[in-house]
């Protein structure tokens, strides 16, 4: 009798909900079966565009200081350790934010997560104008850097909207275009700064402060757009789906524990730290490196530095595409090999970039190739992440995203803070470390799909991994695992080709 009112509310809500219809092909979970970057269909592609735009804006603001560092360091009398600390703060503060964002996505949805973070970090952009010393500079970069947690919401959102056949490329493209902000800002901010110099009659120490108004406004408008133009899930927003009972109301602590107990997540945390973390590190240092090493002017150094981040336009998608293609041929093992190959090559090219310190042309060449491999590795990483867990996907995305920032923290602290280590030396040492850490892809093993060197066990099913390991018997009986069952049905193609359902039916026939 006590349950009747709640059941009545749920049934009434379900009756009131108009079953969604979609203009694009969807699977049994109503996830899109393909990505069309020119489409704005609601909700899949509208959410795709809102997620990458929101993430893009956070990258623009987080690295807005980097191309203007030659001006800022003189105005605020900063030392190399001061600059290193501020760069560290920009990427470290968001470690915790990304972990929290994972839980936020699981509990209230990626739309709120992304939009509110953008709006919360906007004031820090405006307040950068008031900074007069190293401490203020650090605090503002820390606050702005919290916006990088939008990455987690972005990836989670894409994993909710696109199915296994295209989740790799959807994740990669959204994140890649978002990361593009780190490259765009390298030439955009010097241009804005130049305009402000003209507007302040040549007073450069006022001009850089005025320039920060642009990222602040971008945050504000993007936050509002994400909130009103996106939708959490194909079937509706979280609030509605929770009320109707279509979506499990997750316990934050429980999902945290579920994610943390998965060793594969920790392997990916480390490896992602040395692809995405390396990208963040390079976004922090490359403009200043080119400016000082080759005595370029600010706009030229910024333009060349932007080549690093601009590779995101296609390179991250390339990694996702390669991951999806390898999956078609070899299943999950193909995805893992793709990741290892891309990231090891990244380390090699990083070393070469450091070695090329006396030639600008050679440095730029290796920088571009290095950047392509960095971003392809990121794309390949998020071709694997959606399959680590279903119930705690937000948490896992959050930790791995945080691992990216942790990697940036480690690299900045180890190689780019100590005045005794030349920047080109730091780049080389970073390359060696990338190659070593990438070896952690090897132990990532899925019982039903295998790992790089070990095959999967065909007797273990996807249900064994995603349902029996993550739900209790009572929860299964309550029907909480029904959405996950759909996922299991859709991801059987991650098996080796000879063990796929289509192959099994053919052999029976």
């Amino acid at each position: 009798t006590r349950q009747q009112p709640a059941a009545l509310v749920r049934n009434a809500t379900m009756a009131a909900i108009v079953q969604p219809t979609f203009t694009i092909p969807v699977d049994s979970e109503n996830k899109a079966k393909s990505l069309n970057i020119f489409s704005f269909s609601f909700p899949h592609h509208a959410s795709f565009h809102m997620s990458w735009i929101g993430f893009f804006v956070s990258f623009v603001s987080t690295f807005a200081a980097a191309p203007m560092v030659a001006i800022i360091r003189e105005d605020l009398e900063l030392t190399k350790p001061n600059l290193g600390d501020a760069g560290l703060a920009a990427v470290t503060g968001t470690i915790i934010a990304r972990v929290i964002m994972g839980s936020v996505c699981d509990v209230v949805g990626p739309r709120y997560g992304l939009s509110i973070v953008l709006l919360l970090s906007a004031p820090f952009c405006f307040c950068m104008s008031y900074v007069t010393d190293a401490a203020g500079f650090l605090i503002c970069r820390l606050g702005i850097g919290l916006g990088l947690s939008t990455f987690v919401a972005c990836q989670f959102w894409m994993s909710c909207m696109f199915n296994g056949k295209c989740v790799g490329i959807a994740n990669a493209t959204a994140a890649g275009w978002g990361n593009l902000g780190g490259g765009v800002t390298q030439f955009l901010m010097p241009l804005i700064y130049s305009g402000m110099v003209a507007g302040t009659e040549g007073r450069i120490y006022s001009a850089w402060r005025w320039a920060y108004i642009v990222p602040g406004l971008m945050h504000t408008f993007a936050g509002v757009a994400v909130m009103f133009l996106g939708q959490d899930l194909p079937d509706g927003n979280y609030k509605l789906l929770h009320t109707s009972g279509q979506l499990e109301k997750k316990d934050a602590f429980q999902t945290q524990m579920l994610g943390c107990k998965n060793y594969r997540m920790w392997c990916m945390v480390a490896t992602y730290g040395f692809c995405f973390g390396v990208e963040l590190t390079m976004n922090n240092i490359v403009a200043g490196y080119l400016y000082d090493q080759f005595e370029l002017d600010l706009v030229t150094a910024g333009t060349l530095a932007s080549c690093y981040g601009l590779m995101n336009l296609f390179a991250r998608s390339l990694g996702g595409l390669a991951s999806d293609f390898a999956s078609v041929k070899f299943g999950m093992r193909g995805r893992l090999w793709t990741l290892w190959l891309c990231q090891t090559l990244e380390g090699v090219l990083c070393i070469f970039m450091g070695l090329a310190r006396n030639s600008l042309a050679t440095t730029i060449l290796f920088m571009v190739l290095f950047s392509i491999c960095v971003q392809a590795s990121e794309g390949a990483s998020y071709g694997v992440v959606p399959f680590l867990t279903r119930r705690a996907l937000g948490v896992v995305s959050g930790y791995i995203g945080a691992g990216g920032n942790a990697g940036a923290t480690i690299n900045m602290a180890l190689w780019f803070k100590d005045p005794k280590i030349e920047t080109y030396e730091g780049i080389m040492y970073m390359g060696y470390l990338i190659i070593c850490v990438t070896l952690l892809v090897i132990p990532i093993h899925f019982p039903m799909w295998g790992s790089m060197f070990l095959p999967g066990d065909p007797t273990v099913t996807e249900e064994d991994y995603y349902i029996k390991k993550e739900f209790s018997e009572e929860e299964i009986k309550e029907g909480l695992a029904v959405p996950v069952q759909k996922f299991c049905d859709n991801c059987r193609d991650e098996r080796a080709p000879q063990h796929r359902p289509a192959a099994a039916e053919e052999s029976k026939a």
Binding site: S115, Y130, R203, Y205, S206, N237, E422
Partner: protein
């Protein structure tokens, strides 16, 4: 060479070449041992000679120089007569510590300790003055508007006719010279403060309003 008899025509080209190479060799030796006309490119090749002074203003050393507003008055003695001097504004040792972009480099043209990098300027004034017959000189100039707030000394370098440096001296070696501590103009004008404050508040208001409206819409 041109008056050689035609009967010795077959010997003329060989003799011409020999004379040419001999003259070239002699010229190279002259350059190598000429010294004064060759010029130096490194600080280590020169000894700091002469005296450079940052002069007092109205009988006292200024506590601070304001960029874009204050003048720096420089005088020097004991420099080669008739040579042109370049003047550099160099960071003090304390202000290059932990700042590799200001590091000292022995090659004069590449010494970043004396470069202003925010708005690139390798000289305070190139070709500032031609040293008079007493070996003295003076120069006064306004501190450029975008000079970074820091501590500086004045370095005077004398250039010979060939463009190489023949002598240098720094005001840090003169106890009677004023020290140069600079401050910049007001880089936080009222309009900047006002506009950014407005947008800070605006973004917070937008956050609250948007969230409230969306919650109500989805209730």
């Amino acid at each position: 060479l041109h008056n050689l008899d035609d009967s010795r025509t077959h010997l003329r080209p060989r003799l011409h070449d020999t004379m040419k190479s001999t003259l070239t060799t002699l010229a190279m030796f002259a350059l190598a041992f000429g010294g004064a006309d060759a010029g130096f490119t490194k600080y280590s090749e020169m000894n700091p000679t002469g005296v450079v002074t940052v002069d007092q203003v109205s009988g006292a050393c200024p506590a601070k120089y304001t960029s874009g507003a204050s003048n720096i008055a420089i005088s020097y003695t004991g420099f080669p007569v008739g040579e042109t001097v370049d003047i550099k504004l160099c960071f003090t040792k304390a202000k290059i510590s932990e700042r590799p972009w200001r590091k000292f480099v022995d090659i004069v043209a590449k010494n970043k300790q004396c470069w202003q990098t925010a708005e690139l300027a390798k000289f305070f004034k190139a070709g500032a003055y031609v040293t008079d017959e007493n070996g003295d000189g003076t120069y006064t100039a306004e501190l450029p508007v975008n000079t970074a707030p820091s501590e500086y000394t004045i370095q005077v370098l004398s250039k010979d006719a060939g463009g190489g440096y023949s002598q240098f001296q720094d005001s840090k070696n003169n106890n009677n010279s004023c020290s140069i501590k600079t401050e910049i103009y007001n880089n936080l004008p009222t309009n900047l403060v006002g506009v950014q404050a407005f947008f800070t508040v605006f973004s917070i208001v937008v956050l609250v309003a948007a969230y409230t409206y969306d919650k109500a819409k989805n209730a």
